[in-house]
Structure formats: structure tokens, C-alpha cells
């Protein structure tokens, strides 16, 4: 005989699952692991968090960190917006139209697998060492990824809702806004998150190959000097920005757009 006895757990959230607390503890854990690893390694190849943060602060106050970071962020943002806009449109179109997909599929795969290096070199050689070439090259690297992700999303759209929208003669823009985009939300979220990080990684390469500033430029300089502290210092400055964007922008927005699921995100 089984007896189920339940009590509604109202606001009985244990500390181990309450949002900000966990995030803080988890983050502290990360720092602690790093600290320990650095302590045990005791090598200049693995500087500890204190040393790195000191470098970051010093470089921010006395060095070029802030301006370099600003420049890199601007490039990331510009390339991100371009890539998401173009990639989403093409991706959704390819997901919805089998014929279009057939036409563009092989181009897509070629573009997807062109090494970043090749695109960047060709862009620089043809368009000069300019900001536009740099941002364009980065966007071009990311666009096929966005297309691939959103194409999958468009393919798995609910045909029932599509019929509903057509029966009610919803105008195209309304349909996009209320029927299609909400269904694509998880795909857009995935493409954005992986996109931001991919773009930033490519921006680093772009900066390495033909810009005179930016975090990538600094990273590479410091790599040549094998200054791991500086490499990590610049890295965590960027990662800190990304963490801030994630926790103060992306996640609240995500909670808002998925509140209908009535499940915490």
C-alpha cells in the first residue's frame, strides 16, 4: 500500500536553489578552484585570481584596457547585430521553403566550413585593413551558424498554429511577431549565446590579423611575451562584461519572454 502525503511547499525554497545566492556561491567556487589550482601550480603560467584582477584593475586605470575593451565590444556588437539580422532572415526563409533551401544549401555548407582565417585574409586583402572589412569578416563567419540554427527552428514550427494564422488571415508582420518568433525563441536564444561568444572569438582573430587595437590585439601581444597574467586579465575583463550582459540583460529578457511556460529559467 502506497501512501502519498503531500504538503504544498509555499515559498519553502531552500537556500541551495534560490537564484542569486546560488549564483554567488557557484561563482565563488569557481574563484576558489582557480585560486587553489594557482597555489598548487605555483607557476607564472597559472597566475592566481588576485594577481590577475590586480592586473586588470591596474590596466584599466593606468593602461589601455578600457579603451581596448570598448573597441572590441563595439566590434562584437556590430558584427552580432549584422549576423543575427541577416542570418535569421535567411535561416527562417530556408527553413520554410524547401526549394530555397535546396538552392542555398551547398553555399551554406561551404561558407560554414570556410576557415575564419581565409575569410579574414580575403576581406582584408580586398577591402583593406579597415574597420568595415573587420566587422564584415566577423559577421560573415557567424552568419552561417545563425542560418543553420534558425533553419532548424523554422523547420520545427507548429503547422497547427500556422494554419490558425492563415485561416484568420493574420498579416505577415503580425504572424511573424506573434506566431513565428515566439516559437523560434529557444533557437534565437541558442544562436545569440553561442553567437556572442563565437563572434568575440573571431573578433580576436580579426584584431590579431589586421587591427591596431582591441582586446585581441592585446592578447596576442601578450601571448608573444608569454604574459599569462595579462592574457587572463584581458580575458576576464571581457568575460565580466559578458557575465553582466547575461545576468542583467539576457536572463531577465528571457524570463520575460518565457514566462508563459510558468517554469523558472
Amino acid at each position: 500500500m502506497t501512501i502519498t502525503q503531500s504538503k504544498i511547499r509555499r515559498d519553502a525554497r531552500p537556500w541551495a536553489s534560490s537564484g542569486p545566492v546560488v549564483t554567488l556561491i557557484s561563482f565563488a567556487g569557481f574563484v576558489a578552484v582557480w585560486f587553489l589550482a594557482a597555489y598548487i601550480a605555483d607557476s607564472k603560467l597559472l597566475p592566481g585570481p588576485v594577481e590577475v584582477v590586480e592586473f586588470t584593475i591596474d590596466e584599466a586605470v593606468n593602461g589601455p584596457l578600457l579603451s581596448e575593451l570598448g573597441i572590441t565590444l563595439w566590434r562584437v556588437a556590430a558584427a552580432f547585430v549584422i549576423a543575427m539580422a541577416i542570418g535569421s532572415v535567411i535561416g527562417i526563409a530556408m527553413g520554410e521553403s524547401v526549394v530555397l533551401n535546396r538552392w542555398l544549401d551547398s553555399w551554406l555548407i561551404v561558407l560554414l566550413n570556410l576557415p575564419a582565417l581565409v575569410i579574414i585574409i580575403l576581406a582584408y586583402v580586398w577591402f583593406g585593413l579597415t574597420e568595415a572589412a573587420a566587422i564584415g569578416a566577423v559577421a560573415l563567419n557567424k552568419i552561417p551558424n545563425v542560418i543553420v540554427t534558425l533553419r532548424e527552428g523554422a523547420r520545427s514550427l507548429d503547422p497547427g498554429l500556422d494554419e490558425m494564422a492563415r485561416a484568420y488571415r493574420m498579416p505577415a508582420m503580425e504572424r511573424l511577431k506573434h506566431v513565428i518568433l515566439p516559437q523560434l525563441q529557444p533557437y534565437i536564444a541558442a544562436a545569440s549565446r553561442t553567437g556572442l561568444s563565437l563572434i568575440w572569438k573571431i573578433v580576436l582573430v580579426v584584431e590579431l590579423l589586421g587591427r591596431s587595437n582591441g582586446v585581441g590585439f592585446q592578447l596576442h601581444l601578450n601571448f608573444q611575451l608569454f604574459n599569462v597574467t595579462a592574457i587572463l586579465g584581458y580575458t576576464i575583463a571581457f568575460v565580466a562584461v559578458m557575465l553582466a550582459i547575461e545576468f542583467f540583460l539576457v536572463q531577465p529578457f528571457e524570463r520575460y519572454t518565457t514566462r508563459w511556460r510558468n517554469r523558472p529559467v
Partner: protein, 304 residues
């Protein structure tokens, strides 16, 4: 009159940038009637891309690249900047005394299997120690800073690296197993050969005679200054990122030793000799289709 502008793409913190910084600081460019515009970049490839794409007028690279490009139809040309070359460095307590001792050892090589220093050393070892380093050692190719670090960690028995990296290792007690100066001599050069120089388009130089002349003059003058003045070096110290006095001194010494002393014609003659070895060992991949050093590789400009 308005000074002619010359834009130079350089590796930031690279040795060329020391020179350019000296020029700018002592206003040697103005003195020579040009205005130097420095575009700092993060990799050698970036400078080459910049030159090809027309974003800069002058970069620093080697004459082999120039010869290959010329053979492919472009009009780049070369003017010597330094004779300093890479070196094989071994750890302080290493049992390796001669090239022969490298047999069976792990050797890190910056720049890959077609690196010119590496090929010249291979040729040298064949002649003097009768060993083929390419088959009788285990080679690890990789990024220069990573290889230096690996040598310090002890994962590599020896490392052939570019001279600034070699200098830094020297400051850590590493020993020069063989210097490239000896190598080129053995291979038939009449003196120290300038491998790295300023590279620019012939067309551009002809259209801007004043600019190129002024730039080379300013460069020579700055080298003069760096060869003699310790004070000029003190000024450069922050850019050199030398972690200690020993490194600083090693870098300074090697730089000074590398200042070319011979004429362009002498350099060119020796380059022709070395070209043969490089062609033999590196093949067309490395040197391009030309049987010999492409004519015009060394710039004999008006006034030079």
C-alpha cells in the same frame, strides 16, 4: 614643403617598432623630410596582409618572401634592416654541445618546416656534422612563445627560435648551440647577411622617391643612434618588455650586432648564394618558381 607621408606596418613591441619609435622620438623623420606613420599590428601576417591590401607602404620581412612574390608577378622590393637571425638554444645544463648531439633529440622549431633559419641549419649540419637533422631529430613546430616556454619547462631538448626569443632564453642561462652567422659563412656567404629588411612596392618607391629615401635615411640614422647611445635604449625599455636587466642587455646586444654594415650589393650577392640552399631544401613551396633570387629583389634605388 609638405613632408611626404610614409606609413609603416609593424609588429607592436617588435624590434622594428623600437627603431621606428626612436625615429619618431628624435624627430629623425622630419629631419629627413618625411612624416612617419606607424600602424602597429599584432602579427607578421597582418603586416603582410596590410602591404598586399595597400593599407601600408612599408613593412619588415625577409627577402625570400620578396623574391617569391616577385616571381609571382608583384613588384615588392627589399632594403636591409638587420642581420640578426634565429639561433638554436639549449638549456644551461644540457649535454648537447654540438649539432651532432641533437641526434634523436626533440627540437622545437618556430616558423615551421620551411623556416629559412631551419633550412640553413639543416644544410649546415649536413656539411659539417654529416647529419640530416630533418630525419635524425624529432621536430616540434609551433608558435614561438609557446616553444620558448616548452623549452624552459624542459619538454624540448633544444629550440630554434627567432632572435628576440633566443635573447630572452639567453638571459635565462640558455646557451647558443649555433649562431646563424657561422652557418651562413660556412655556406659561402662573405659576411653577415641581412635576412630581414624593409619591403615596399617598387612602383610606390618610384612614385615617392623622396618618401622612401627619407625613410631609409631616418632608419639608418636611428640605427646609428641605437648602436652607440645607451640612453636611447633606456628610453625604449618599457616597449621592450624585458623582465630583467639580463634580458634587456641580451636584446640590446643582439640588436646592435644585427645592424647591417655591408652594402646592399654585398648582401644581394650573399643572398644569391643562400638562395640556392634554400631552394634545394625548401623546394618551390618555399622559394617559388624562380631558379634563382628574383632580379630586383634587393632595392637599388636612386640615391642608395
Amino acid at each position: 614643403a609638405q613632408d611626404d607621408e610614409v606609413s609603416v606596418g609593424v609588429l607592436k613591441f617588435g624590434t622594428v617598432s623600437w627603431l621606428l619609435d626612436t625615429i619618431q622620438h628624435y624627430k629623425l623623420d622630419e629631419k629627413a623630410g618625411v612624416k612617419l606613420d606607424m600602424l602597429p599590428l599584432a602579427s607578421n601576417q597582418a603586416t603582410a596582409v596590410g602591404l598586399q591590401g595597400g593599407s601600408v607602404d612599408i613593412i619588415a620581412t625577409d627577402w625570400l618572401w620578396v623574391s617569391r612574390e616577385r616571381a609571382g608577378g608583384s613588384d615588392f622590393t627589399f632594403s636591409p634592416f638587420t642581420t640578426a637571425l634565429g639561433a638554436i638554444m639549449v638549456p644551461p645544463d644540457s649535454p648537447i654541445q654540438t649539432l651532432g648531439d641533437l641526434k634523436g633529440k626533440t627540437l622545437g622549431i618556430a616558423g615551421g618546416p620551411l623556416d629559412k633559419s631551419w633550412l640553413l641549419i639543416v644544410a649546415y649540419a649536413k656539411r659539417t656534422a654529416n647529419i640530416d637533422l630533418r630525419t635524425e631529430t624529432r621536430q616540434v613546430f609551433g608558435a614561438p612563445p609557446l616553444l620558448s616556454e616548452k623549452a624552459i619547462q624542459g619538454e624540448l631538448d633544444a629550440v630554434l627560435n627567432y632572435w628576440p626569443y633566443a635573447a630572452r632564453l639567453e638571459a635565462k642561462g640558455f646557451k647558443d648551440l649555433i649562431g646563424l652567422e657561422d652557418v651562413v659563412e660556412e655556406l659561402g656567404a662573405k659576411g653577415e647577411v641581412s635576412m630581414v629588411g624593409f619591403v615596399f612596392s617598387e612602383d610606390w618607391a618610384e612614385d615617392n622617391p623622396k618618401a622612401i629615401k627619407g625613410f631609409l635615411e631616418a632608419a639608418a640614422e636611428a640605427n646609428e643612434l641605437l648602436a652607440t647611445s645607451d640612453e636611447a635604449w633606456e628610453r625604449l625599455r618599457p616597449m621592450m618588455k624585458a623582465e630583467d636587466q639580463a634580458t634587456f642587455e641580451a636584446l640590446r646586444r643582439r640588436y646592435r650586432e644585427g645592424i647591417p654594415e655591408r652594402t646592399t650589393a654585398q648582401n644581394e650577392a650573399d643572398a644569391k648564394v643562400l638562395y640556392r640552399f634554400l631552394r634545394e631544401l625548401g623546394g618551390e613551396r618555399l622559394v617559388g618558381p624562380s631558379e634563382q633570387l628574383a632580379p630586383g629583389t634587393f632595392w637599388i634605388g636612386k640615391g642608395s
